[in-house]
Amino acid sequence: MKESTASSRLSRLGAALMRDNVRQYGMVIALVAIVVLFQILTGGLLLTPLNVTNLIMQNSYILILAIGMMLVIITGHIDLSVGSVVAFTGAVSAVMLTSWGLPTLAVVPLALLLGALIGAWQGFWVAYVRVPSFIVTLAGMLVFRGATLAVLGGESIAPLPEALRSLSSGFLPGQGEGLHLPTLLLGAAGAAAIVWIRWRARSRSLGYGLPVPSAGATAATSAVVVAAVLAFTYVLARYNGLPVVGVLLVVLIAGYSFLMRSTTMGRRVYAVGGSEQAAALSGIRTRRTAFWVFVNMGVLSALAGLVFTARLNAATPGAGTMFELDAIAAAFIGGASAFGGVGTVVGAVIGALVMGVLNNGMSLIGLGVDWQQLIKGLVLLLAVAFDIYNKRRATSGRPVRPARARRRGGGEAGGGRDGAGSVPGPARAAPS
């Protein structure tokens, strides 16, 4: 390290960054490509202020679910029940609002609490009884769909109070004519915050004597990000401004990104997903971690349930059907590993946007649902195949993942030692 020059160190760091982030960048590039493609195919309809606003609103609940799903998948689990939980929490909220006459301000926290309880229920079975999450949440999918039908008596509840509807169809207050000023100001504030965070991180790294990109490079990348934020808010400002649900999404994305990247809690989630045994032997309470990840998923499902119910202005028995698959697809397109331990919140958001833009763009050009499903399925498959191909190349031809169970007689290499380890790990029973 010491004898190498600063520039070679930098290029090496850059190469390492590219290697580690090729998947993330790849997906950003794919997203941009899809946007450009549909912008051309729709003759400019895709990026009109109205349609961009619609895109956010249409995909808001999937984005919320995708964030929670990403955490679940990083932990090495899956949650198939989120669609049913969306329906159930939506139904219960609607009953509380209409039959019980509770105010929206009381219903929202109650619904989130209900989501937490549902998550705790599933987390208990997964983490402490150690029933595979696939089974627990498959059961949950049936249980909460059935519960939804029971609560609604097979019928829809509509309409819902205005206060709830504003959650998904409301906009930030502001004047009606011309550009929406508060939105522009928020955009500028956001851009400034991004620049401040980036420069502070850079100066901190400098303080530790770590290699950092040159000031020019940081300025250039910051300029790109700032331009994107400003352009986005400008487009929104030309319509009604930033939707309420957009604010919610920004807060969630920023909050969960921070949690997963910068806190010890997030690091433990990655560790448990990366290797439960290694995490346990490092003093991490692996069961508790998995439990809370499911509680979190329950809360976010309830939030998505509120947003979706508000958007529909009705609670219906069939609400949320297939949402779990959209959320799971978003997480995998966004770079999650099916084996756990890998993935980012931003990745899930990009994955959800890829699916959202595909949906929206294909609808705009009049493709039927049949073709839409077909194409979305292929996109999911190709994205994950690309990921596996990349990983295999990165580990220079070694298998992506060693077989979980060591087969007999397979272990002896190198030193030619006799047999495999003599002792089972914590979760592995003795030779039997």
Binding site: A201, R267, S275, L281, R285, T395, P402, R417, D418, A430
Partner: protein
């Protein structure tokens, strides 16, 4: 159906002759001109230290390492053989039973016995004949079980017998048993050895690999000793009227270890202080087999600045001891006490053990020690996140600096701390695990086979790190199967056998033969 339907081509010659077998793995010559001759109807013991090449030799013989991947010749009944797979060697009447049993627990005993060569006509299983034949085979191995019982309901000892029945079903002539008694209790072991003698009467030849010298000498007719991938000698064993073998155990031990200690260990420095850690009456039961004690009343002390060795053969209970000590990560009914500086230490879970200053570098670093898809930074800090965070918020700059510093101290060769550990070599991965635990600033570092599968250079560096840690006053408990490593590194050595501590030897009085004798001192054979 007779067991001797194939007549030997050269009557009177050995059943099996292996000559000049050489087998190389990348960078290592595991077998270097090994010869082995096994006579008809005899029990032939194959002895050697861990890593001597016994298992590799048996894999060559059974076709796991196919013809072409080694040089040398194999003759069965004087006929040259070139097995391209296990199926080939089975056709020649050779069956191998591994330490890890290869039965499918959910299937019944008879299904397991005939797995892969079901008794069937046109693909339809003939259950009547299957069960009848299975019952007959079970009788031969002395197992009184219904053949319809699922294997999961059987004890480990019974499973071993089912494995042998399975081999007999294939009309085996040469049965290879690799550490058959390592998972068995004494009664089960005795029963298995009786069975081997019975089978010998029925004309089945047997190659027995075992670390338990006492039981080997009780049953074998011939012993071949391997060391460092070479055949050292083959001895005939005869017994006088009261069963005393003509070859004594010391002779075999000398053959197994007989090499000079190489200068591959750094010299020690620093003073040994007072006792810091003490373990009293540590007893652990097997996690699934009720009542089987894996560690039985083990007590030991470690002084400040001392490297204490724990020598023992595979299955002696050393790893179980260490892992149960480390926050009860293994076993059930863990009892006994740990004292640090004379005060009782809470080791109820891993977090408590880490807080108490204990660190455990596991034997199986890939699954128990590392996040393979994580980078060096994350792996380095994962056991001590508190050191790089404030109020639960990580300081990425501090983490990068600390990880880089630790990496340098451990001499990890990488292109930076953001490298994914899966892409590192085995030696460098081990250094990352070591760094992860050094980062917790432990008072007691337990190293479990720290140099397994690691090249010589990395080994020396790991020894240096251990030395430096001890010189700084920390306690080290070094578990190893390699006696040269134990003798080269340790100030004091405990030996373990069958879950019990069988000896405590200061470095000055220790040599390989003494240790080997203590390590093989099973309950009935002091």
């Amino acid at each position: 159906m007779t067991e001797r339907e194939r007549r030997p081509a050269s009557p009177g010659g050995p059943l099996l002759l292996m000559r000049g077998i050489q087998k190389e793995f990348p960078g290592v010559r595991a077998l270097d001109g090994v010869s082995l001759s096994v006579g008809h109807g005899r029990i032939h013991a194959l002895m050697g230290e861990n890593g001597a090449g016994k298992s590799t030799l048996m894999k060559v013989l059974s076709g796991v390492h196919p013809a072409g991947s080694y040089t040398g010749e194999i003759l069965v009944d004087g006929r040259p053989c070139a097995f391209s797979g296990v199926a080939d060697s089975e056709r020649a009447g050779i069956a191998i039973i591994h330490q890890e049993l290869a039965l499918i627990p959910q299937l019944s005993v008879s299904e397991n016995i005939f797995l892969g060569h079901e008794r069937s006509r046109f693909g339809i299983v003939d259950w009547g004949s299957t069960h009848a034949r299975a019952r007959e085979l079970l009788r031969r191995v002395g197992l009184d079980e219904n053949p319809a019982t699922p294997v999961s309901a059987l004890s480990v000892g019974a499973r071993q017998l089912v494995e042998i029945a399975k081999a007999l079903a294939k009309r085996v002539r040469l049965l290879i048993l690799d550490e058959p008694t390592s998972a068995l209790n004494e009664a089960e072991s005795a029963r298995l050895l009786e069975l081997l003698l019975d089978l010998r009467e029925q004309g089945v030849t047997c190659i027995l690999i075992s670390h338990k010298l006492g039981e080997v000498m009780r049953v074998c007719d011939e012993v071949t000793i391997l060391r460092d991938g070479r055949t050292i000698e083959t001895l005939e064993v005869e017994r006088d009227a009261d069963g005393t073998p003509s070859v004594d155990e010391d002779r075999v031990i000398r053959g197994m270890v007989g090499r000079a200690l190489d200068q591959r260990h750094p010299g020690r420095s620093g003073e040994i202080g007072p006792v810091r850690f003490e373990v009293r009456d540590w007893t652990v039961d097997h996690p699934t087999q009720l009542g089987r004690r894996v560690v039985d009343g083990a007590s030991l002390t470690v002084r400040a600045g001392e490297v204490v060795g724990m020598a023992g053969l595979m299955g002696a209970g050393r790893t179980e001891f260490a892992m149960s000590l480390f926050g009860r990560s293994y076993g059930r009914h863990v009892r006994g006490s740990v004292l640090k500086d004379g005060r009782e230490l809470d080791t109820g879970d891993v977090a408590a053990a880490v807080r108490g200053g204990i660190a455990y570098v596991p034997e199986d670093r890939k699954t128990l020690g590392l996040l393979l898809d994580g980078d060096i930074r994350h792996n380095t800090t994962m056991a001590a996140l508190g050191r790089v965070s404030r109020h639960g918020v990580l300081d990425p700059g501090l983490e990068a600096v600390e990880a880089a510093r630790m990496s340098e101290r451990m001499r990890v060769r990488s292109h930076g701390t953001t490298q994914i550990v899966r892409t590192l070599s085995g030696g460098n991965q081990q250094k990352v695990v070591l760094g992860k635990w050094m980062f917790t600033e432990p008072d007691l570092l337990i190293l479990d086979e720290p140099t397994r599968g690691i090249d010589v250079g990395a080994k020396y560096e790991i020894y240096l790190i251990v030395r430096r840690l001890a010189a700084a006053g920390a306690c080290v408990l070094l578990i190893s199967s390699e006696l040269p490593e134990i003798l080269g590194m340790c100030d004091r050595i405990y030996t373990m056998c069958e879950g019990r501590i069988t000896g405590e030897v200061p470095r000055a009085e220790a040599d390989q033969e003494t240790l080997m004798r203590l390590m093989t001192r099973t309950g009935g054979h002091p």
